[in-house]
């Protein structure tokens, strides 16, 4: 039972449910109370102890159904026996064949696997597959390319070699029986392949997901394929959650040892000023105020999309965000982003200002004219764009005024450093007024950039 539960925990982790050691101990204790006999109760018990949210419950429920559609756990016992028996048989074929010759039906001299297949005992075969997959440690399977090697390992553990010898012998002596055995072997291969596929579905999900995410994190945002966009959004949401957990700490922190005399006196007025309750001075922490200017012209649009998605899912960490999108002129898009789903919002923004040829100068003029008042001395201004202004006046003087009115001005450029300043790139002229300029082409760089911005407020 323990072995089975452990394997289930691994499968649960693969399904994206966080199972800590402490939780697995709790689950074990609970299962010890209810027993494994009643499937429905077992399912409820595991859902109660392991899953900690509605999403996890759904995932774990699916995982449970998949896991326990495998051979029954209680077959552990006989299967271990048969395994031992088969090993015996391998070691001393002469004695075993002598002792079992009494059964008569399958001819003498056959290995245990051949006998099992010929007798068509489906339960025994299933049990043998289960025990062999245990021996081949199927739960270590990680990638779909490993299916072949695990299949052959399982077949080897079941005694394929012996079976082949038997087949060779039989073809000579008893062709009809050999034909039957060959058919049975094909069926066995298929069954093993199914088992391995199921094992892959159960155990490999976590690893495969990690690998895919790793690749995705380092892929240039501007060039990801259409089918990956949804995955990327999920990844960005994950990043947002991580940043939220890290930075959404309480905003007031007591400064130990600094008595707030005024508040202490006021609070203890009821007891004649005898200080029963003490009040300490607090330090107030600001949450970031962010003004984001995003270039949404063709080349940079994708990066801006993910950046806006990230910034706007940081509600708990960031006090207020004003987002502006521009290509040839600039509009405020905070409301669109807040009210609509990411897909709809981006579509609307694109239809309003997107895909034009970018004109940084006139966009900055638009910003100065209408929105300069959004900047306060606590604001961080983030500009996301490639600074390619099609040889129009860059109006770097406006950027200087923006920089003077805010705490910091961060420029995120999706292009590599090498390209800055070449062609129509105005990056060097803008860079003089920025506190930080950094490249930001992949999800990982995006995460770092936002994390650094938020961290300076802590």
């Amino acid at each position: 039972m323990r072995e089975n539960l452990h394997r289930f925990f691994r499968a649960a982790r693969g399904a994206g449910v966080h199972v800590s050691p402490a939780e697995s101990i709790d689950a074990m204790r609970a299962v010890a109370q209810v027993g494994m006999s009643d499937r429905a109760i077992l399912r409820d018990t595991l859902l109660l102890t392991l899953a900690k949210s509605q999403d996890e419950k759904l995932a774990l429920g699916d995982c449970f159904d998949l896991f326990f559609s495998q051979p029954e756990p209680r077959q552990d016992q006989p299967e271990a026996d048969s395994n031992a028996a088969s090993q015996d048989a391998d070691q001393s074929p002469s004695s075993s064949s002598a002792s079992e010759a009494g059964e008569g039906q399958p001819p003498e001299g056959l290995g245990p696997l051949a006998r099992m297949l010929l007798s068509q005992d489906r339960n025994a075969v299933a049990a043998a597959i289960a025990s062999a997959s245990g021996a081949a440690s199927l739960s270590d399977i990680r990638y779909s390319t490993q299916r072949g090697i695990f299949s052959s390992r399982i077949l080897d553990a079941m005694g394929l070699q012996r079976l082949r010898d038997d087949l060779d012998e039989l073809t000579a002596s008893n062709p009809a029986l050999a034909e039957r055995l060959r058919a049975a072997l094909d069926a066995l291969r298929e069954a093993v392949r199914d088992t391995v596929a199921q094992g892959l579905a159960l155990y490999a999900r976590e690893e495969a997901e990690n690998l895919r995410n790793e690749i995705l994190r380092n892929a240039p945002l501007a060039r990801i394929e259409r089918r990956q966009v949804a995955e990327m959004r999920a990844l960005i949401r994950q990043i947002a959650r991580r940043l939220r957990e890290r930075y959404s700490k309480p905003r007031k922190r007591q400064r130990r040892g600094h008595l707030d005399v005024r508040r202490t006196l006021r609070r203890n007025a009821a007891w004649g000023g005898v200080p029963f309750l003490t009040a300490w001075k607090r330090k107030h922490r600001d949450r970031p105020k962010i003004v984001a200017l995003c270039d949404v012209s063709g080349s940079v649009a994708q990066v801006s999309d993910f950046f806006l998605l990230l910034i706007h899912s940081l509600h708990e960490v960031v006090d207020d965000v004003h987002s502006f999108a521009f290509s040839s002129h600039l509009i405020e898009v905070s409301e669109i982003l807040e009210k609509k789903s990411p897909e709809e919002a981006m579509a609307e923004i694109m239809s309003k200002v997107g895909f034009g040829s970018s004109d940084y100068g006139s966009s900055l003029v638009d910003f100065e004219k209408d929105f300069m008042s959004t900047l306060t001395p606590q604001t961080t201004v983030i500009v996301l764009g490639d600074a390619r202004s099609n040889n129009l006046d860059p109006r770097a003087d406006i950027l200087r005024r923006v920089s003077e009115r805010s705490t910091r001005l961060v420029w995120l450029n999706p292009e590599g450093r090498l390209a800055w300043g070449f062609g129509d790139s105005e990056m060097p002229r803008y860079a003089t007024f920025c506190s930080i300029v950094r490249q930001c082409a992949t999800a990982q760089q995006l995460e770092r950039a936002v994390s650094d911005i938020v961290a300076t407020y802590q």
């Binding site: 609970a30 109370q33 109760i41 109660l48 899953a51 419950k57 007891w271």
Partner: protein, 315 residues
């Protein structure tokens, strides 16, 4: 025998709760049984009005235990949840004992001796006598055990959550001046949450996690039957069917079980024998709490009643 026991025990929980008028699904009963067996709190999540708080009340009534309720809100702190010193009493006693104090201290020859004696008094004034137990401490001090309901934990601050951890895992609290107070009998702890904010992993880890959603039609009928006995079977079926149709709409606040029960009471009061468009229109405000929701549901009423009636024929 040992294999059979749990399922019987879980059924016993189910029927025990049913006797108190709480119709529990199998999952709920399993959670209650397990929390008793492995002594773990239950964290109940779900939309408002599906009977999270009722569950605690039903367990208390069924086991014949006292229920202690702690309603959480923003700014709830130790002093209101755990314990507080009785300042007024301490002050009063120092006043009354002034003479006595003088007497005792008068005996001291040096300042040091007086100070040493004064130290002893400090311990006297910070003893159990002067502790005002708040719900959490009360729950630990019940000799016969109790049901501790920590309601709407998601409304409290993150700091308060951390305060709870000691109680939830070890059933004890540490009071700096007195030491550790352990539970005489571990209480059955039920925490409820409306998922207004995500609870910390540390808290979740210490609890069994139970999600109560809207019940299935059959179950909801049974709930109405037990809560509003006066209602006829046809009407009960029709109204529950109708509510299930309403829940398929995209509304601001879906009607939950408590609204179903209220509505059943209203229908009984109005002596309705069957659902018809007029009576539904007149009483829709019992089910739906937002003007926009009522407007969204209005045009669908006739269709829904027809659907609910039709499902009766086959069901």
């Amino acid at each position: 025998m040992a294999e059979q026991k749990p399922s019987i025990a879980i059924e016993a929980v189910e029927s025990g709760l049913a006797a108190q008028g709480y119709i529990a699904s199998r999952q709920i009963a399993t959670a209650v049984y397990l929390s008793q067996q492995i002594e773990k709190p239950i964290l109940v999540e779900g939309p408002a009005g599906v009977g999270k708080t009722e569950l605690a009340k039903a367990i208390a009534a069924w086991r014949g235990m006292k229920m202690i309720r702690l309603q959480c809100y923003e700014g709830l702190d130790e002093a209101k949840a755990l314990y507080e010193w009785k300042y007024a009493k301490q002050l009063l006693y120092t006043q009354i004992l002034k003479d006595k104090l003088g007497e005792v201290l008068g005996g001291a020859q040096t300042l040091h001796a007086a100070l040493a004696q004064l130290h002893d008094f400090g311990d006297v004034f910070f003893s159990k006598e002067f502790v005002e137990p708040r719900p959490l401490l009360q729950a630990l001090e019940q000799p016969g055990g109790c049901v501790l309901l920590i309601d709407e934990i998601d409304k409290s601050d993150a700091e308060f959550e951390s305060l709870l951890l000691e109680i939830l895992s070890d059933f004890q609290v540490t009071i700096p001046e007195l030491g550790t107070v352990s539970a005489i009998t571990p209480p059955t702890v039920i925490l409820t949450s409306n998922s207004e904010r995500d609870l910390g992993d540390a808290l979740k880890r210490r609890c069994l996690h139970l999600h109560i959603g809207f019940p299935e039609q059959r179950l909801e009928e049974r709930i109405v039957e037990s809560r509003v006995p006066g209602i006829s079977q046809t009407l009960r079926r029709q109204m529950v069917g109708f509510i299930h149709e309403i829940r398929s709409l995209d509304l601001k606040k879906l009607p939950s079980v408590s609204e179903t029960i209220d509505w059943a009471r209203v229908l009984v009061l109005l002596q309705a024998s069957e659902l018809d468009t007029d009576i539904v229109k007149d009483t829709l405000n019992v089910l739906l709490k937002y003007e926009a929701d009522i407007e969204a549901a209005q045009p669908q009423i006739t269709t829904f009643i027809a659907k609910a009636a039709r499902s009766n024929v086959f069901g």
